[in-house]
């Protein structure tokens, strides 16, 4: 420990160390600040949406003469609120929709409609703290460590250092450890400050720091192994850069290709089209073709399912729901496929510490695939509650009155 403090003190006298630390600190500050701005913007977008949707609802509901119109014209906003730590790892919030405006119509299509493009997506080049620490930070560490022994050898200090050091371990390991510690401090400090600023929970914040530290330790060990084998600075740099490419680029890319080709997943767009077709076809079919299968799966409406008019709202909503049921198995496959792919990427992360780091950080920030899937399930739950609320009035089991609309379900985020 004494030697580590000594090495830290004297490492801070080296220009290349200072420059690297300043660089890491600046990048980490940029990452957490832009991450925070992005998250703030998403939050304000959510509250605007909620506000607008509510006033829209008030406006629309006052004008509806019947239950069908009340269900039809009202939009509902659903959203996945960013966690306190989302600023550190934007993850799914940078690539997948985190809000959906939904109506009482067939739901699956509404979920996958926005897959094609969300206006709020990828506004920033994704230099978030997770990317910085999983991909860029190792490069800076390599820069600091690749020539640690080589330079001492060239300058004729290697033997003097080894012969002078009174501690058991190699003095170069302590030197490398000190530089790693400094780099950790330089990059974790902006994170810690921001986490405190946004009052992020202490436990998960500490785990974020621990994950970053662990990742740097992995690269410390790699750098030491290479430095011991390759005494030439140029060959150790080459080997380390190759290792960096392998772990942070090649392994994740290859894993993605293997996983995606071995776990086929139906496309959200296809699901949307299949559902639209099913819904459109229903208009031209005899009413019984919709109502019979509908009461078969929802027997509670059997006594209210008779359709006598050319257009009745209950028939309309029944075929909307049948549209969802028509693609239910594809939708389940899609969900299972996404989960399976995600799990397999988790296995691949065992071979790539940078990938593992990124996955841990998005998980702690609740911006990973699993949290996104949970949000989509939350939307489904909310939509089911809407049906449960509207159906008695639509099927005539209870009387419609505008006052009853005060009890309209309001979306509540499910987790966090």
């Amino acid at each position: 420990m004494g030697n580590l403090a000594l090495e830290v003190r004297y490492a801070l006298r080296e220009r290349v160390v200072i420059a690297s630390l300043v660089l890491a600190f600046a990048m980490a500050s940029y990452a957490v600040i832009t991450g925070k701005l992005e998250v703030d913007e998403q939050r304000s977008e959510i509250s605007t949406l909620v506000r607008e949707t509510e006033s829209d609802q008030d406006h629309v509901l006052g004008q509806q003469p019947d239950a069908g119109g009340a269900a039809y014209y009202v939009h509902h906003v659903t959203y996945q609120p960013p966690s306190a730590l989302a600023f550190a790892a934007l993850g799914s919030r940078g690539e997948l929709p985190w809000q959906h405006r939904v109506r009482m119509l067939a739901l699956e299509g509404q979920i996958y409609e926005t897959d094609a493009g969300n206006p709020a997506l990828s506004r920033l080049g994704r230099l978030d703290f997770a990317f910085l620490t999983s991909v860029l930070l190792p490069l800076i560490l390599i820069l600091l460590l690749y020539d640690l022994d080589g330079r001492e050898r060239r300058d004729g200090r290697y033997e003097l250092l080894s012969a002078t050091s009174a501690s058991k371990g190699s003095p170069f390991f302590v030197k490398a450890g000190a530089r790693t510690l400094l780099l950790f401090a330089a990059s974790a400090t902006p994170f810690a400050v921001m986490a405190a600023f946004v009052s992020a929970p202490l436990g998960p914040s500490l785990v974020v720091a621990a994950v970053v530290a662990l990742h740097l330790c992995f690269w410390l060990v790699i750098c030491r192994l290479v430095a011991v084998r390759f005494t030439q600075a140029s060959s150790s740099a080459t080997v380390l850069l190759a290792g960096w490419l392998l772990f942070s680029m090649a392994v994740p890319a290859a894993a993605r290709i293997v996983v995606e080709s071995s776990v086929p997943v139906p496309a959200g767009g296809e699901l949307l089209l299949a559902q639209r077709e099913a819904v459109n076809d229903a208009w031209d079919l005899p009413k019984a073709d919709t109502m019979e299968p509908f009461v078969a799966s929802h027997p509670e409406w059997r006594d209210h399912a008779e359709v006598t008019q050319p257009f009745e709202w209950k028939w309309y909503y029944a075929f909307q729901q049948m549209g969802d049921e028509f693609v239910a198995s594809e939708s389940a496959q899609l969900r299972a496929g996404i989960t399976r792919r995600d799990n397999l990427m988790g296995v691949a992360a065992l071979l790539s510490p940078p990938l593992a780091t990124e996955r841990w950080l998005t998980r702690l920030a609740a911006t990973d695939r699993a949290h996104h899937q949970r949000y989509i399930q939350c939307v489904r739950g909310f939509h089911a509650a809407l049906r449960e609320f509207h159906y008695p009035m639509l099927f005539g089991a209870s009387e419609y009155s505008p006052e009853k609309m005060a009890g309209l379900p309001k979306y509540q985020p499910c987790d966090e």
Binding site: G2, L6, D155, E159, S162, T164, S165, A166
Partner: protein
């Protein structure tokens, strides 16, 4: 006074060393007693630095053994390093640090006393100007750097000194100061193995001189009671062996 011969501290037992596919030491033998100054002379590439590195455990002999206090160097290198202060051939300390910081760093590394007073008294001893002590070593002359290296070796307070060309780059006054310093340390019981090109300087301080040529010991000179080793004799042998 104890009349039994002082115990050997450093012994080379038919040391043979290969480096880069060439035999650079061939059966080198010598023994240095406690408090003795042994000077190792020889032309460029004779194997002098290699001999020191072998005693430090950085070079492994293909046969033979280097012993410190009877213990083979390679048995426990760390234990050897604790007893030895080493001055490398080109005493390159850190150029971006000043003299005091360099000494503070290396002494802390050695877990030795690194107090400012102690460091300053060693720098006084080697004659490094007080005005230079807070300047970075990159602004030093070769001799000034050498003085800091010597100060470090002294400050280690080690019972054994392995010095590789300690006087190279020093001016005549500094060489004289260094010589008396080494003699004084040996008088206190420090054992010194010193590599040098300076035949006359070696004869002034050393009671025992080895002459190395192409990895072989070709001369062994000892001072007799009251008489120092004759520099002319050593010089003649040196020149002869190079013919």
């Amino acid at each position: 006074m104890n009349s039994s011969p002082p115990k050997p501290v450093l012994t080379a037992e038919s040391l043979t060393v290969d480096r880069g596919g060439h035999q650079v030491l061939s059966g080198v033998e010598f023994s240095i007693a406690q408090g003795e100054i042994f000077a190792l002379l020889g032309g460029n590439g004779a194997g002098k630095s290699t001999t020191l590195l072998t005693f430090l455990g950085f070079v492994t002999p293909t046969s033979g053994v280097a012993r410190v206090n009877g213990q083979s160097v390679h048995e426990d290198i760390k234990a050897i390093h604790k007893q030895v202060a080493y001055l490398p051939e080109a005493a390159n300390l850190y150029p971006h640090l000043n003299a005091r910081e360099n000494l503070d760093y290396f002494l802390s590394l050695a877990k030795a006393d690194n107090s400012r007073a102690r460091i300053d008294s060693a720098l006084d001893m080697v004659g490094l100007a007080a005005s230079a002590r807070d300047r970075r070593l990159e602004a030093y002359s070769k001799g000034m750097r050498q003085k800091v290296g010597i100060a470090l070796a002294i400050l280690r307070d080690a019972p054994i000194l392995l010095l590789d060309e300690p006087t190279s780059g020093l001016d005549p006054v500094a060489i004289d100061e260094f010589n008396s310093l080494v003699v004084a340390l040996a008088g206190e019981g420090t054992t010194v193995l010193m590599v040098t090109h300076d035949v006359y300087g070696a004869c002034q301080v050393a009671r025992h001189i080895g002459l190395l040529q192409k990895g072989q010991m070709v001369g062994d000179f000892r001072a007799s009671a009251g008489n120092p080793i004759s520099a002319d004799e050593v010089h003649r042998k040196f020149t002869e062996s190079h013919l």
